[in-house]
């Protein structure tokens, strides 16, 4: 918490203070019981926000996970005499496994299958809760659930339960803040920003989505167990589809991707729910209407939405401090003396054993009937800038997509040094040291410049969900280290002074350099640049050329796809010409310029 956590100390301690002193100020038991419900909902909502706000996935099944926690705790303690605390853990385990089984198939593809799969699941759970009367008590519910005990202390009143619920709520918020500020949180936000770019930067996107889904289900299950032990009674009516919509609305109103916002959303909407409790119709309508209204006009949530509205109408206020966003002094002291990977001497030494760094063997790839790449074999020399050129549709980008694992070739192999990598997923290929940029820039627009580059270092670090949630010392050390690396990569690409700006606010040329910085962060063996100079003006093109040469001089082999012949002929060590998916020439720039077939391909007969 030394590195990022500083920001959280103040709000967390204020929060703890409010929790502790609120019941002392107001001794009204009704308020306390409402607050208990707020706390339970907040537990669900914080977990759900990790899924919705960070990974960009929608679940309409959290009522079912909440129900599973409540019913498992209720049934196992009343009917089978299980001890309550271990049962809560067991319920979390079971719910997590079920979520895993739903998550794996529905998160496999792009698109929003999860929303329907979870909705279906929650309808099924609801059917079972009503039908399995011998087990669940059916529609009339299950009573007599014992209250929780800790040693001899019985949590049998609203007040006692209040402190227990809010203690866990505090923990959940603390852990979630840890998670989102660390490696895992950055990876999740990157997935939200651009799934393909995250994958190509070394994030195992599918696994992360499943994990965060399971985590959010476990949060809900835990809240459900607490609910069962608090109310001492559960019935299917508390876990309808409407509950799922309510928690989703709380996330939206609080702001997707804002942990504190979730607490806010849970508070005001739980209170609203209590006020409208008597009239079911108005309750449903109001939640739906709030959801639609907030999304249409304040998609960033009520708090941020109002803040932005204020900013918009107070322009002069911002003119006074124009540098607020763009160039603040470096917030965190970076110790530049430490040896980071990026400070190592150029890597040619390390890789000099290999003459050929990357080898393509008889690659073939077709789309429908179109042969995009036809029987192409290429050797890329270690430490070279190799440029692939050719008319539009010649298969240049397809080759980059095959090397980086986004496409699987129909036949043929890709060898990195001597390892066959043709069947690997993009994130694994990044981990092995081949990173890339994209033709149409794919930076993570929802993150700052520095954070973008930090995601680039993802494959070289290894703190996962549990250690990030607990913010172990290891995570902290790693975070510091990643920060240094990212800073140096930004210095290398001349972006260090923009490090705290939102990446979306950069001009196009700088966005392209940022993408290169992100790809460079792990000091790859090979970097694939897809049209780095496209859309740049003369000065920016000049800068990019120099940057590419600088990258080569570090010892990184560069594979460049580019249409700008000044760039290609000026810096490439070797040029490969493709036409209609086939290699038609290969050689140094001078020979290529004089090659008849090349001239023919470009200029026609």
């Amino acid at each position: 918490m030394v590195l990022f956590g500083k920001k959280d100390y103040l709000p967390l301690s204020i929060f703890a203070g409010i929790i502790i002193f609120f019941p002392i100020v107001t001794r009204n038991p009704y308020y306390i019981s409402v607050l208990n419900l707020v706390g339970l909902n907040a537990l669900v909502v914080v977990g759900l926000n990790l899924l919705i706000g960070y990974a960009g996935q929608i679940s309409l099944g959290h009522a079912a996970f909440y129900a599973m926690g409540a019913y498992l705790s209720g049934i196992l303690t009343t009917k089978f005499g299980f001890p309550s605390w271990p049962t809560i853990a067991l319920a979390m385990l079971i719910t997590g496994s079920v979520a895993y089984m739903i998550g794996v198939p529905s998160l496999k593809l792009k698109g929003h299958y999860l929303v329907m799969a979870t909705l279906g699941f929650s309808l099924i759970v609801y059917v079972f809760l009503g039908q399995l009367v011998w087990l669940t008590g059916g529609p009339s519910g299950l009573g007599g659930i014992p209250s929780l005990k800790l040693l001899d202390f019985d949590f049998n009143s609203d007040f006692r339960m209040y402190y227990l619920i809010w203690f866990f709520c505090f923990l959940a918020i603390l852990c979630s803040l840890n998670l989102v500020r660390n490696r895992v949180g950055r990876a999740l936000r990157a997935i939200h920003g651009s799934e393909i770019a995250a994958n190509a930067s070394g994030v195992d996107t599918k696994r992360y989505k499943v994990k965060v889904f399971v985590l959010s289900a476990v949060f809900a299950s835990f809240a459900g167990s607490l609910y069962a032990h608090y109310i001492n009674f559960v019935s299917p009516d508390s876990f309808t589809f409407i509950y799922s919509v309510q928690v989703v609305t709380m996330v939206i109103v609080g702001g997707m991707g804002s942990i504190w916002g979730s607490l806010f959303g849970a508070s005001i909407l739980t209170i609203l729910n209590q006020l409208l409790h008597a009239v079911k119709e108005y309750n449903i309508i109001s939640f739906g209407a709030i959801l639609v209204f907030v999304l249409m006009f304040f998609p960033e949530g009520i708090v941020f939405g109002l803040a932005n509205l204020y900013k918009k109408h107070k322009k002069f206020f911002y003119q006074l401090k124009p540098s607020l966003q763009t160039n603040p002094p470096l917030a965190i002291a970076i110790n530049l003396n430490r040896r980071t990977p990026f400070a190592d001497p150029p890597l040619c030494l390390r890789q000099s054993n290999y003459k050929t760094i990357l080898k393509l063997h008889k690659l073939q790839k077709s789309f429908g009937g179109l042969m995009a790449v036809n029987d192409v074999s290429l050797d890329f020399k270690n430490g070279d800038i190799s440029a692939i050129i050719g008319p539009n549709g010649a298969g240049k980008t397809t080759i980059l997509n095959i090397i980086s694992g986004i496409y699987k070739p129909n036949s043929g192999k890709v060898y990195l040094q001597e390892h066959d990598i043709s069947s690997f997923k993009p994130f694994l290929i990044a981990k092995l040291g081949i990173t890339r940029t994209f033709q149409n820039v794919k930076i993570f627009k929802n993150m700052t410049v520095l954070e973008n580059v930090m995601v680039g270092f993802h494959p070289k670090t290894n703190s996962e969900f549990i250690s990030c949630l607990l913010n172990l010392p290891k995570v902290e050390r790693e975070g510091k280290f990643v920060l240094e690396v990212a800073y140096k990569a930004l210095e290398f690409t001349d972006l260090a002074n923009k490090r705290n700006a939102m990446s979306s606010s950069l001009p196009y040329g700088e966005q392209k350099r940022l993408e290169i910085a992100r790809a460079l962060a792990i000091d790859p063996k090979v970097i694939l640049l897809d049209e780095p100079a496209a859309g740049l003006n003369a000065i920016e093109t000049e800068e990019i050329s120099r940057l590419i040469v600088k990258i080569r001089d570090r010892g990184v082999s560069v594979i460049l796809v580019e249409h700008n012949m000044d760039v290609v002929m000026g810096i490439a060590d070797k040029v490969i010409v493709l036409n209609y998916g086939e290699k038609i020439a290969e050689g140094n720039p001078k020979d290529i310029q004089e090659d008849n077939r090349v001239i023919k391909a470009y200029l026609g007969e």
């Binding site: 792009k110 279906g120 309508i285 939640f287 998609p299």
Partner: protein
């Protein structure tokens, strides 16, 4: 006790297993037809916008409920009520596509999906307020005198469902393949930017796709209402099954939607008949999960390479 009851049943109607299966096929095909229509509606919006249109659920409910309202409360002739209901829901669909989703400040797919969820929930609430919690029925389109095929019963409404679905699917096929607007819709679905560049009004196509999905949902809701009755919350479950049908056939594939719908209806009907009708809804959901697990592209889905290709562009 249970077995003796069944024995009595069998004796009374003298049903053979064949008749039983035939009966399940008849009802499965008619429910399946509605799933097919709903699945086409899901696909139309998905292709045009990438959005899982949750509001599809209320189109189904409104189709049935408005039909009943026009007929039973406003005393309009049955066919007029049905047509009016379909037209109004089509209009509501267009309104959602053109108005609400376009005014939205953010055009992120996740946000748009949430908006459709919100609309669906509030409309359900309003329906509960207007029509109350109890199911209401629409009279059959042409009487109740059933036909008998072997030992199985086929009601005139079943024939109506087959006929209407057939006509709708054939005219949709004609619309998408032959008319300029249909071709423009397909073009906008395949490549938005390209469609803009050749002068197609993509936003109008989005609106049309919502109108289409509204109309299809309403047709499905109103033709099945005489058999299953309609209530304020009928849309969610039927809509979910229509979605499962779309996945089963291959998400985004119109022809797949028809096959997926019919197949799901058959599986569900036979499964519910042979196992237990209490867990009828469970069957459709398990099929959804199994398809997602083993063949996420569905029966007629696009090949994987092509979907990846779209992503990268």
């Amino acid at each position: 006790m249970l077995s003796s009851q069944r024995f009595q049943c069998e004796k009374e109607f003298e049903l053979t297993l064949f008749d039983l299966i035939l009966q399940f096929v008849i009802s499965g095909l008619s429910v399946g037809s509605t799933y097919a229509l709903i699945a086409i509606g899901f696909n139309a919006v998905y292709n045009a916008t990438g959005v899982v249109n949750f509001a599809q659920c209320i189109f189904i409910m409104l189709g049935g409920m408005l039909g009943i309202t026009f007929h039973s409360f406003l005393k309009l002739p049955l066919m007029v009520s049905v047509l009016l209901s379909v037209m109004s829901v089509t209009f509501i669909g267009a309104l959602i596509g053109r108005g609400i989703l376009r005014i939205s400040k953010s055009q992120q797919v996740v946000i748009l999906i949430f908006i459709t969820i919100g609309i669906s929930v509030s409309v359900e609430g309003i329906a509960l307020l207007l029509w109350g919690p109890f199911p209401i029925a629409l009279p059959s389109f042409s009487g109740e005198n059933p036909l008998f095929i072997s030992g199985a019963v086929i009601s005139p409404q079943n024939l109506w469902i087959y006929g209407v679905t057939f006509v709708v699917v054939v005219s949709l096929y004609y619309f998408f393949k032959r008319t300029i607007v249909g071709k423009a819709m397909r073009a906008a679905a395949v490549n938005r930017k390209g469609a803009y560049l050749v002068g197609i009004n993509v936003e109008r196509m989005v609106m049309l796709s919502f109108a289409l999905s509204g109309g299809l949902g309403a047709v499905a809701g109103v033709i099945i209402a005489p058999i299953t009755t309609s209530s304020y919350d009928v849309g969610t479950i039927v809509g979910l099954k229509g979605f499962a049908a779309a996945i089963l056939g291959g998400y985004g594939n119109m022809f797949g939607a028809v096959i997926g719908g019919l197949l799901l209806g058959l599986l569900e009907s036979i499964g519910a008949g042979l196992i237990s009708s209490t867990y009828k809804n469970v069957i459709a959901f398990f099929i959804l999960l199994i398809i997602l697990f083993f063949k996420p592209t569905g029966i007629l889905g696009r090949r994987e390479a092509e979907t990846v290709y779209e992503e990268t562009i």
